[in-house]
Amino acid sequence: MKKLSRQIIFYSALIGVWALLAKLHVWPPYLFPPPWGVGEALWAGFQDHSFWIGIAVTMKRMFIGYSLSVVLGMILGLGVGSYKFLEDTLGGLLVSLQSLPSICWIPLAVLWFGLTEKAILFVVLMGSLLSVTIAMEDGRKQMPKIYALAGRNLGAKGFRLFWSVLLPASLPFIVSGLKQGFAFGWRSLIQAEMIFLSLGLGQLLMMGRDLNDMSQVIAVMILIIILGFIIDGLVFRTMERKLQERWGLVPA
């Protein structure tokens, strides 16, 4: 309760200062719109469905791109974590690729795939893939060996060993990596959407700029923050809580 009331006071104060500055006309309103201006933009955006469509399109891309990167990242990570040869070769490459900001993949993606959905998905994939892979590799190494042995001993092998033993056993060690991968993917997606006509939130943001509509720009920014926050809370916090419940303590 104490935490909640603190948060309420903090955010009210923040909006209060914002309103005051807008009221005092420190900066012209087309550069520094008041909170109610942004509120109106949000309302209007939802009224004419452009925000709904933006959210739906963006979320769909995020879902597909992230799912792809989780599947691929786990396979890669498991491989690199299990075989010394892959670790020495591919492992190093993956780490060095991580120093490349994912927005750098956009020119390549556009040349390869054109201004298409595929290009955007590719950028999301590249944004989150490395985090997921490296997390999975770490998870595979940190995971107590006993689980794999026990699983094999009880007759699990191949894909079933991975699905029923290796994956759940490494989950506590990779959940933070999955979360980081999501955050990176989310950023890459919005960036990619800003580049060309794509219907997503990124494009709505750029449209605000093109129309010189600062209220819309801020409204979309708030939307992006809230969406990211909700997914984090809903998906990843729940996952972490579940893990805590089951394992007793989170080992990671």
Partner: protein, 311 residues
Amino acid sequence: MSTSPHNAYPAPVPPDHRGVVRGNVLRGKPVSSVAVLPMRPGTAANVVPKVALDGISLSYKTNSKGRLVALENISLQVQPGEFLCIVGPSGCGKSTLLHLIAGLHQPTSGQVSVDGKVVSGPGTDRILIFQELGLFPWLTVGQNVEFGMKMKNISKAEREEKIQYYLRLVHLSKFRDSFTHQLSGGMRQRVALARALATEPDVLLMDEPFAALDAQTRDLLHDELERIWAETGRTIIFVTHNVREAVRLGDRVALMTFRPGRVKQEFPIHLPRPRHIEETDVARTAREILDCLREEINKSLEVEYADEKAK
């Protein structure tokens, strides 16, 4: 469900010292009236041994010293339904030997066979209960017990029936939906036992399963293990460093040497069952074995201290 593999074997020498009657409660069907066990190796030479180790050696590369011979030329035979205990100083390769029988590793030379067939990998006819148990924390107690059966593609209905049966056998029916971290050490131990038994292996391999438990819990589990062994008729190979525990439980105790691990001597245990760990007969027999073991422990300590000095 098959009642018992022991029917297939001719009745070996009927031992008169066996207190526990191996009648059976497994779903009310008698397992076998002839499931009495050969107490000494060699008394039933015409019987195919359940587990046969034939000249097993294992060595591996170490970082500095070249090759370490962990096990050297181990030959052992375990009869169907026998309870064999293996004792030895820590580091003698007892656990490794169990891993080899389980098929989790391959020996450098020699072979393990079960029912006359050479072991080439893990199989659900031999289930190992690890020292660390390796219960799956992401599964409930019931799901842990179910795991091996799922891997064997046993039908849902049959799995359900067996989960109930084996949880009752280890007195954990009430904890079916608990997670393993919510249980005490002794309870976790029993979950591991139920999980292993539920796949209905012919051979149960146990790696110092009670080492980390307090004395009371351990005594209790000794009684339960003896009872379950009598009820299910499994062959058990039980590794421990506790000689009294070995004498308390085993039909036979094999003593291993320290590096390289060899079988130094075998001691048939002729004490009547049920036994208790504090009985004088158990203590006296343990004493004999312990004298023999002491030499090996001294050797292991010398090596350890030498290692320390070298640092």
